[in-house]
Amino acid sequence: MGDIGNFALIIAFALSIYTIFASVIGARKCRNDIIISAERSLVTGCVMVAVASLSIVILLLKSDFSYSYVTSYSNKDLPFFYKFAAFWAGQAGSLLFWLLILSIVSSVAVLQNKEHNRELMPYVMAAMSIVTLFFILVTLFIANPFDHWVVESETGTSLFTAGDGNGLNPLLQHWAMVIHPPALFIGYSGFLVPFAFAIAALITGKLDANWTKVTRRWTIFAWIFLGIGILLGGRWAYVELGWGGYWAWDPVENASLLPWLTGTAYLHSVIIQEKRGMLKVWNISLIIVTFLLCILGTFITRSGIISSVHSFAQSSIGPAFGSFLFFLIAGSLFLIIRRLPDLKSETRPDSLLSRESGFLFNNLILVGAMLATLWGTIIPILSEWIQGTQITVGAPYFNKVNIPIGLFLLFLTGVGPLFAWRKSSASSLKRNFLYPFSSSVVFGFFLFVLGVRHIFALISFTLCFFVAFTVLQEFFKGTHARRKNIGESYCRALINLTLRNTRRYGGYIVHFGIVFLFMGFTGNAFNKEKRAELGIGDTMEIGSYELRLDNFNSGENPLYEFIELDLAVFRNGKEVSRKTPQKRYYLASGQITTEVAIHSSFSNDLYIVYTDVPAENRAEIITYLNPLICFVWLGGGILVIGSIIAMIPNRVKNRKITIFEELAVKEEITN
C-alpha cells in the first residue's frame, strides 16, 4: 500500500510540473488542447494525492508498523477515531494532508471556472501548481510518510517491523484536535485561490474588479475556516494544557492569527476598491501577504525553529520552507512593482469622516496588530541569527501591544457603520452618534459606580456596549424602514433585510460576535487562581465556590492508567456538581498527563487541575476562576454564523427591483 502511495506522489509531482508548463504555453500559444490537458493534469494530480492520502490512512488503520510514520504516531489499541486523526498528527502526515486540501481547493477552482475568467485561469492554474509542486517535493524528499522503518547494523541496513507503535501524543487525543488541524489547513489552503488569482491578474494585467469578485467569496470561506481552526485550537489548549487559559501568545498560535488579521483587513478594504476604485495596490498586496503568512505559519509550526507548546514536529523542512517563502516574496514583489502604474486609485477619500476612511483606519490597525505580533513571534529567530542566543518574548509583550490596538479596533468596529460613504455631514454624525455614544457613556459610568476599576476592562466593556448598540441600531433602522415602506412585519422585515444585504448584515452579525469575543477576553482581567493541598474531607474556597475532596479513585483501560479526585463543588452552600480531575499514565508513550475538570456556567468557569500527589491520600490542586469565558466560545459561534450569511449571495438578484430602489426611482422621477 505504501508503494502505491509513494508512486501516486511521484505521478502527482510529474503532473504538477506538466501543469505549470502546459498552462503557460497553452495560454501563450492560444492552444485549446494544451489548456484542457493542463486542466486534466491538475485534477488528476489531486486524485493522485488523494490516493497517497488514502494509502497512509489504510496503513494507519491496519497498524502496519513497518512504516516509521505509523509506528511513531499510532499503536494497536488506539481508537479508530484517533488512528484516522494520526494522519495529520505528525509532520510528514500533516504536510501530505495540507497537500491534499491544497489539491482539492485547486481542482474545485479549476472546475468552477471552466466557463469563467478564462483570461486568468491558465496563470491561476500555474500559480496553484507551483505551490502544490513545492508541497509534493517536501512530502516526497524531506518528510515522506511512506518511509520504511530502517535499522542499521554492521551487516548493512535492513527493514524492521515494530511489534507496536508509540501511540498518538496523549495531548492530541482530544476531539478538538481531530477537527482543529483540518479546519486550519482548509483555512490556509483556501487563501491559495485568492493568491493565485491575484498573481494571475498581475501577470495578465487584468487588474479590474473581476479578480476581487472571484476572490471575495473564497477569502470569506478561508477566513471562516481559519477562524474555526483558531477557536478550536484555543478550546483544545484550554481543556488539555491545564494552565487555565486558552491563548498563550505561543508562536504557533500567533502563526495562525497573522493571516486571519490580514484576511480580515482584506475583507474590509476590498469593499472600498469595489465601491470607489481605491486601494488597488493595498488590496492585491494584502491578499498576497495573507497567503505568504499561511506559508510562514507552516514554516513556524513545522520547522521547530521556535520552541512552542506545539513542538509535536521538528525537523529539517525549515530551509525548504524558508527558500520557498523567499521565492514567493521576491516573485510577488517583482510582479506588483511591474504593474504599479496599472494599480493607481481612481479616486481619493473625500473626508476623514467617511466610511472609506474608517475602513482605512481599520486596515492600518489590523496590519499594525499583525506586524506587532509577527515581530514578537520572529524575534527569537532574529536574535539567534544576530546574537547567537534565542530571546523569547512572552505574553506580557503581546498583551501590552495588542490590548490597546484591540480596543481601538473595537472602537472602529462601532464607529465604522455610523459613517456614510464619501463624507459624513455634521447633522448626520449627530443623528447617528447621539444615542450610541450617550448611552455608552452612561453605561461606562454605571460600571464605574458598580466598582469596575480596571481601566482596560472598563474601556473594553463600554466599547462592547457601544458596538453592540450600533449594530442593533443598524438592524433596527433597516427593519423599521422596510416595515414603514413595505408594511412587512418586524420579523419578516428583519429576515428580508438580512437576506437582501447579506454582506452588510452578515458583517454586522460578525461584529456582534466580535463584541462577545472581547467580553470574553476582558473577563481575563478578573481571573482568580488558588493553590491548595487537600486530604479526604478537606475543603477549599475560591470566589463563590467551595470544593470538598470526597475520595480518590483509580482505574485503567487499554490506553492509560489513571488516578482521579472525587470533588464535590458547592456554590453559595449548595452542591452544584461533582468533578473528577485526573492524572493519567499513557502506556504506549510512557507519558504522564493532567486532565482538567471544568464546571462551566454563564458567568464563569471553575477550572480544576490535579497537579501533584504530595503524600498518600493527599492531593495538590490548582483552581482558576475564569469569568465570562463562555462568551469567547459563544462569540466564535456568532462570528461563524455571520460569516456564512455574508457568503450567501443577495436574494435581491432574483427579483426584478428592490423596494428601496423602487422608492428611490420614484423619488428620482419626482425630482
Binding site: 505521478i11 485549446n32 484542457i36 486534466r40 478564462r118 469595489e274 456614510a420 460613504w421 444585504n501
Partner: protein, 149 residues
Amino acid sequence: MTGVIIVLIAAAVFLFVFEPFFYVRKLPNRFITRKQVRKNELNVLKENLLDSIRELDLENATGMIPKEDYHKLRKAYISRLETINHELGGLGKPDRTDDIKKQIEIDIKIHRKKPKIAVEDGNSLICPKCSAGNLPGSNFCSKCGEKLS
C-alpha cells in the same frame, strides 16, 4: 499485484491527461475573444455599481446619508452605469432576460430624461461620455475630449 496496480494507474493517468491532443471531436473552447473579456469586465463593474446603488438606497431609507449626498452619489453611479451600458451595447446586444440588466435599463431611462452632465465624484469630475476621472474645474475630458462644463 502492487506492480500491476501501479502500471494501470500510470496508463490511466497518461491516457486521461494527453487525450485532448488526440481528440477527434471538437474540444470545448477555453479561450474567449478580447471583446468577450471586456464584456465580462463591464458586467462585473455593472454588478458592483448596482450593489452600490442598492446599498446607497438602503442608507437613504434609513437616514444614514444626507439627501444631497445621496442624490449626488446616485447620479454619479447612474452616469457610470449608462456609460458601461453604452459600451456593452457596442459589444453586443445585452441579455434582456437578466434582472440586473433590466434594472440598469430602468435607471438609464430615468437618467435619459435629464441632460448629460459631468458629475463630481470625490476629487474628480466624471466624464458623462467615457466616465474617465478629470481634475475638478476641467472644461474638457482629458481622455475623450467631451465637454465637461
